[in-house]
């Protein structure tokens, strides 16, 4: 066991790190789904856009200015998407909103494709995060170690916000019962906007950590992580923030072990790289069949 840990440490470490980055994105999915019952297909692309903004902004200004600006712009992007593409459809059937989300995703991808010329851009080095360190014979970047810690800190802050502030309380109320909360005088639009703002903010932080690790951003780099994070959210029980975080860590770790770990039980290793993506969805189908509500989800029944 120890030997296994030792020989696979770098994969496990990067798994934990990727898991943390996924967690930050997954929260955006789970919160939006909790409140609007909408799979925000565009969330992964918001994450990608945050990466691209960093590429362009850091080229023209110092890092210390670029980072906060990226955060602000990503938040603005998330806010605008909600206002333009989802708010007008609030009373429309759910399928229309989902289609709108797919449309936004398509738009963001094509916009990115146009502005980048379809090429992957090199992600700038964020000075301290990109440094290489060595832990137990495995060399890795600082970001690998920082990610899980930062993730946990942010999740704790978010939980406190949801538990103790007025807007957090409103969020919980809306996710429990949309119509009633509206009748009770909760400003639904504000709650939804705040949800998108928080989600986009976390996605922006996630993008900085994620792309520092991967070193390049392409217009399509949002799609896969986006879907995986949604799976993580479903796995943990959609609507539940701790669930999303745990789901994301599980997916991140498993995926990295499959990708690079030496064979465990005869599977894993280089031949299975193709399947690291597929694994996530196999996991999704399994969890949905075995426990459709996810690990921490609540059961909802239709009234007849």
């Amino acid at each position: 066991m120890i030997e296994f840990l030792h020989s696979n440490l770098s994969y496990i470490l990067s798994g934990i790190s990727v898991g943390g980055q996924f967690a930050l994105i997954a929260i955006g999915y789970t919160m939006v789904y909790g409140i609007l019952r909408l799979i925000n297909f565009a969330h992964g692309d918001v994450f990608m856009c945050a990466g691209l903004m960093m590429v362009y902004l850091s080229a023209s200004m110092p890092m210390m200015m670029a980072i906060p600006l990226v955060l602000i712009l990503t938040v603005a992007l998330g806010f605008i998407i909600e206002r333009v593409a989802y708010k007008p459809l609030r009373s429309a059937p759910r399928m229309s909103v989902m289609i709108s989300a797919i449309g936004v995703s398509y738009l963001l991808q094509n916009a990115a494709l146009y502005f980048t010329g379809g090429l992957a851009k090199v992600y700038p080095e964020i000075p301290w995060l990109s440094k290489t360190i060595t832990i137990w014979d495995a060399s890795t970047k600082v970001v690998t170690v920082v990610t899980p810690i930062l993730t946990i800190v942010l999740v704790v802050l978010l939980s406190l916000l949801i538990k103790y502030t007025k807007i957090g309380m409103a969020m919980r109320a809306v996710s429990k019962d949309f119509e009633t909360s509206e009748l009770m005088g909760i400003k639904i639009d504000r709650v939804i906007s705040v949800t998108f703002i928080i989600g986009s903010f976390l996605a922006a932080v996630g993008s900085m950590l994620y792309f520092t690790n991967y070193a390049s951003v392409a217009p399509t780099s949002g799609g896969m992580p986006g879907l995986k994070c949604f799976v993580a959210a479903v796995f943990g029980g959609i609507g539940s923030i701790p669930g999303a975080v745990i789901g994301a860590f599980i997916i991140g770790i498993c995926e990295n072990i499959i990708k690079g770990g030496s064979s465990i039980f005869g599977i894993g290793g280089s031949g299975w790289t193709t399947f690291s993506d597929a694994f996530t969805f196999a996991l999704l189908i399994i969890i949905l069949v075995v426990k459709p509500t996810g690990l921490f989800g609540e059961k909802a029944t239709d009234k007849v």
Partner: protein, 376 residues
């Protein structure tokens, strides 16, 4: 069926026959390299896959996003089956693997097997997935399409699928020959015939008792179940049939492209098809067809200049560069989704009665606008 409906039906049949005659004439008179044929062929292929998606999303109310995956299965099944044995054994296509399939089939068998392969996969995947609620279904089918793509690119399956490498040298549209009498069918006509037959089947299905059961499930699952409609069986039926035709359209796409590679069947392709369905109107077969041709004509022909530096005589290579066309496209699509969410046709079908009604409403609308001035 009323007399009025019967005349409508005849008019529609005549109109469809006319379309085919025009296709035949065009193909005899114009050079085959004309861009029009690209649009017609690709448009017909996309019509088929859009209609098959509409059967699920529009008529059964299942929000499925697996279409690209089923097309991939169809395309590969077709390519593998119809590639001549000699090519398979040489290293023309299978450079890094030894192909283990030592037989080849004709085009028709290839097409049907393409559909069946997709349908079999659909039946298998449907077992767990179709019991899910709508939005989970969307993600699960999208995920499934990704898994399929990964499997087809997998090294271990290389001797069958050629790994992540391009498939080519299989029977394409130029080699369609009617057996026995040895008459060559022109490519565009062939695509139109296959797609037309498939769409006709779907139209008949939708207007049959089963089609009504699908719509009942879409409108109210609980009521449908209470009236004796087995939800799972009917959903699976719709899913399998839709996938069968997605498989065939995948095979047609492979024929049309001469080469096919797994990496082209990304989720973006499914999104594209979904957006075509939305533009045409969810729940309208003719809408899906019109939107497909429109979409393909715009992207392959009319708006090509947006990517090439020159559009409508305006020369601006700085703006009109690669990718601008799709960017403009996605903006148009968003506008349609947000402001014209019923699409071109809503859930109605194109017919002369429909056209007449539209015209009348337009005229009366104009009259009302003129007459209603003082009151307003």
């Amino acid at each position: 069926m009323g007399k009025k409906n019967k005349t409508e039906l005849w008019i529609a049949l005549v109109a469809i026959a006319l379309v085919y005659i025009v296709v035949i004439i065009l193909e005899q008179t114009m050079s085959p390299g004309n861009i029009l044929f690209t649009v017609l062929k690709k448009g017909a292929i996309y019509s088929l896959v859009a209609v098959s998606m509409n059967l699920l999303n529009g008529f059964t109310g299942l929000f499925s996003l697996g279409q690209a995956g089923f097309m991939l299965i169809g395309a590969y099944t077709y390519a593998i089956l119809t590639m001549p044995v000699a090519v398979k054994l040489s290293d023309q296509v299978y450079k890094y693997y030894d192909c283990i399939i030592h037989f080849d089939t004709g085009i028709l068998v290839g097409l049907i097997c393409a559909g069946i392969a997709a349908a079999v996969f659909a039946a298998l995947i449907g077992l767990p997935v179709l019991r899910l609620k709508s939005d989970y279904l969307a993600i699960a089918t999208l995920g499934f399409a990704e898994i399929i793509r990964a499997i087809f690119q997998w090294n271990t399956l290389g001797p069958v699928t050629n790994g992540a490498n391009v498939m080519r040298e299989y029977k394409d549209l130029t080699s369609v020959v009617i057996p026995i009498i040895n008459v060559r069918i022109p490519p565009t006509l062939f695509v139109f015939i296959v797609a037309g037959l498939c769409i006709a089947f779907i139209v008949l299905l939708i207007n049959s008792s089963y089609g009504r059961a699908f719509k009942a499930i879409r409108d109210d699952e609980i009521a449908a179940e209470a009236m004796g409609i087995n939800l799972f069986r009917h959903k699976q039926m719709s899913f399998v049939i839709s996938s069968f035709f997605a498989g065939i359209s995948g095979a047609l796409l492979a024929m049309f492209q001469y080469t096919v590679v797994a990496s082209q069947f990304k989720s973006a392709m499914t999104y594209e098809i979904l957006l075509i369905v939305v533009i045409g109107g969810i729940g309208s077969i003719s809408g899906s067809c019109i939107a497909s041709f429109l979409y393909i004509a715009l992207s392959e022909w009319w708006l090509r200049g947006l990517d090439m530096g020159k559009f409508l005589g305006i020369d601006a290579p700085g703006i009109f560069r690669s990718g601008f066309r799709r960017f403009i496209f996605s903006i148009i699509i968003m506008v349609i989704v947000l402001f014209f969410s019923r699409g071109l046709m809503g859930d109605k079908e194109l017919s002369f009665r429909w056209l007449a009604k539209k015209l009348r409403r337009k005229r009366s609308g104009e009259a009302a606008a003129k007459g209603g001035g003082p009151n307003a």
